[in-house]
């Protein structure tokens, strides 16, 4: 720390205060923002600006190719309570919720499989690869294969299996009651590999001593699960839940390839409804309104999850 003489001329003053500003603000601040800059620029241009644009667009009636007209919140009121539109909208809200059931199902199955894989068995790597294969295959390719599996005629593989069991064949993706469960099943198959890997990592981070201590005290498999594994795994579980919900709300490819939102719009989730409004009906105002609603929903769900589950998550 240099000692400043009592009297200073103006210029020296300014230079000194600049230096001390620099010292105070810290080159750390400036540096940090420089490090953040590339990401921020991209986010600004391709995430934030479009999002704001969409918010404004949701206040317009903008049916291509006509010019946009300002209509305030009419798009929203139409979606929520309008005569024809609201029926479709609420149906898609329901479909979105229905589809997201895949997340807890996926969680349960991945956790079970991860637990199984966590036994020190030989060849675990092979099984792990098997489970991970669906995840690394492109959604498009998978969707096509599963359309084929779900073929409504008797030579579709699933129908063949049903017939072997003496059950009648099903229309699967063409049956409004079964279409969504079909998508969910495929979604679980597709996504569980990722979850398993993450669960495995979390499981392996739990110290063995805890288990051994519990075993010595006569704790059985289920007790160990309940009192050691589950609590210590909770951050991982939470992470998977949040990511799962976000991804399920954004799902698009499989719906577009396999059912195009049908039959009878049962698989039209909010994300797909948005696409239909923007790229098939060219109603950009309405599409933007749906986009904003989707965003708000995502935000809400994530906040709720953070609040509720935060209490139950144990960090050490």
């Amino acid at each position: 720390m240099t000692i400043q003489p009592a009297a200073q001329t103006g210029k020296a003053d300014r230079r000194a205060s600049l230096r001390s500003w620099w010292r105070r603000t810290g080159e750390e601040n400036v540096s940090a923002y420089a490090f953040l800059l590339p990401s921020l620029v991209i986010f600004a241009v391709f995430t934030f600006y479009p999002a704001i644009f969409s918010i404004f667009a949701s206040l317009l009636r903008w049916n291509l190719p006509y010019k946009p007209i300002f209509i305030g919140f009419q798009n929203y009121s139409e979606l929520f309570t309008g005569e024809l539109t609201s029926a479709v909208f609420w149906k898609s809200v329901f479909a979105t919720g229905y589809f997201s059931l895949g997340v807890p199902i996926n969680l349960f199955i991945s956790l079970s499989l991860a637990l199984m894989l966590n036994q020190r068995l030989k060849g675990v790597g092979l099984f792990r690869t098997a489970f991970f294969l669906p995840t690394i295959t492109s959604t498009t390719a998978i969707s096509i294969v599963w359309i084929w599996l779900y073929h409504p005629a008797d030579y579709g593989l699933f129908n063949t299996l049903l017939l072997k069991l003496g059950l009648p064949i099903q229309a699967w993706l063409r049956d409004p009651a079964l279409a969504m469960p079909c998508l969910i099943l495929m979604g679980v198959w597709h996504g569980m590999g990722y979850n398993i890997i993450i669960f495995l990592a979390g499981l392996q981070a739990i110290p063995r001593e805890l288990y051994e201590a519990a075993e010595i005290d006569g704790a059985g498999g289920l007790s160990k699960l309940r009192w050691i594994t589950w609590p210590l795994l909770s951050p991982t579980t939470f992470y998977i839940l949040v990511i799962g919900v976000i991804n399920s709300l954004r799902a698009f490819t499989e719906i577009d390839v396999m059912t195009q939102g049908g039959p009878l719009s049962v698989t039209t989730t909010l994300a797909y409804y948005l696409y239909q409004q923007a790229f098939q009906s060219f109603r950009l105002g309405e599409a933007s309104a749906v986009a904003v609603i989707l965003f708000a929903l995502l935000l809400l769900l994530t906040l709720i999850q953070f609040r509720l589950v935060e209490k139950r998550v144990h960090y050490d």
């Binding site: 540096s31 590339p38 008797d154 009648p168 049908g262 039959p263």
Partner: protein, 450 residues
Amino acid sequence: MIRRIASLHVVINIFLISIVALGLFGCGGGTPESEEPETSGSGSVDADGHVTIEFWYSLGGDSGKVVEELVKRFNESQSEITVNGTYQGNYGAIMAKVWGAISAGSTPNVAQLGAAPLLGETGTIAAVSDYMGGESGIDASQIKDVFWQYNTAKGTIWTMPFNNSVPVMYYNKDLFAAAGLDPEKPPKTWDEVIEYGKQLTKDTDGNGEIDQWAFNTNDDTHWFLSAMFLENNAKIVDEAETEVLYNSPEAVEMLTLWSDMITTHKIMPVNQHSEARGDFLAGKLAMLVGSSSGILSTERDATFKVGVAVIPTVAGKEPVAPVGGASLVIFKHEQEVIQNASWEFVKYMASEESALYVAMNTGYLPIYNSARENPDFIKYMEEHPNLNATVLSLDYAYSIPEFSALGTSDTELRKAVQTVELGQASPQDALNAAKMAVDKFIKEQPQTQP
């Protein structure tokens, strides 16, 4: 000392990172303002006056190759204009791209797509009728009237006929023979379809499930349903194009017939239109109603004898073959020389020679009246007798008015069919719902051009 080095490092860091950031973003400009659609888009003229124009088309596979060949021929036939053609995906995909391009002011010069006359309302296309007269024009009377109607919206002929088709009924002659039916006598009325159908629906491997169906249609069920409406004298849309009329008793009668084929007579599977063509080719479907454009490829891909018949009709009434297909569109360009070049290209693509080439290499209809007398075409027909049904259908061809809500109407009709097939609504209710949705859409459109 340390601090000085630290500051130096900071400067270097910021410098480096900014370079990276700028490099990544390149010469990106400021934020785009919302703008009005401009009329200029692609296309360019170079110093010698040589014009290059962009052409978007939506035919793939074999038909796509035909388009590409014609583009090549045009480029080779003269040296003032070069056309760059690109395939943009199917009708749905190209429509989305065109709307996007209009919005962003970057339209191509010529496009081939369906529902093209509706683009007239956008103010971005040049009406073909403006070019038809004059020196560089063509003789409109040479092309069958119905195709001009297909390219008319609100009284103006906006677009040029190019590839058109009608619904026809494909049938499996081998399956007919196996069921004791005369393979050369396909059904002419819906009653006959049902009668034949009952003998063609079977469970061939005895596992308790029907695996051979008598009848089905392709995905564009709205098209075939419209044919049935028109056959029964039900109107689609009113004169003033302000509302749709297909909740009338005549129309409901047809949708009921459709539904009965599934539930009462059990000759058609429920909601399996996407699989229909595959099933037909696999010999699991006896009769398939589809576009005539697929005749050649179906003959090639089938391992059995294929027959093609005119679409069946209501007993005592004449068949109606609503025209489908796509057209050529000229987008306005501020430079007249480029717009004129677009017309020259379109004129070539729709010339008698080109039209014949299209008709003889795809299943699309011959649009010129003279085609029927053309010796090459006659010989071609003798080699492909199945195309007779298509040419016969020309006599029954009809153009559904291109009203502004046509797209929505088609979607609503498909929805109505699906709802009725899945037993979720009665034909009357389904058509009422469709009418409500389409009328609402029509009301929302501004009445004048933007």
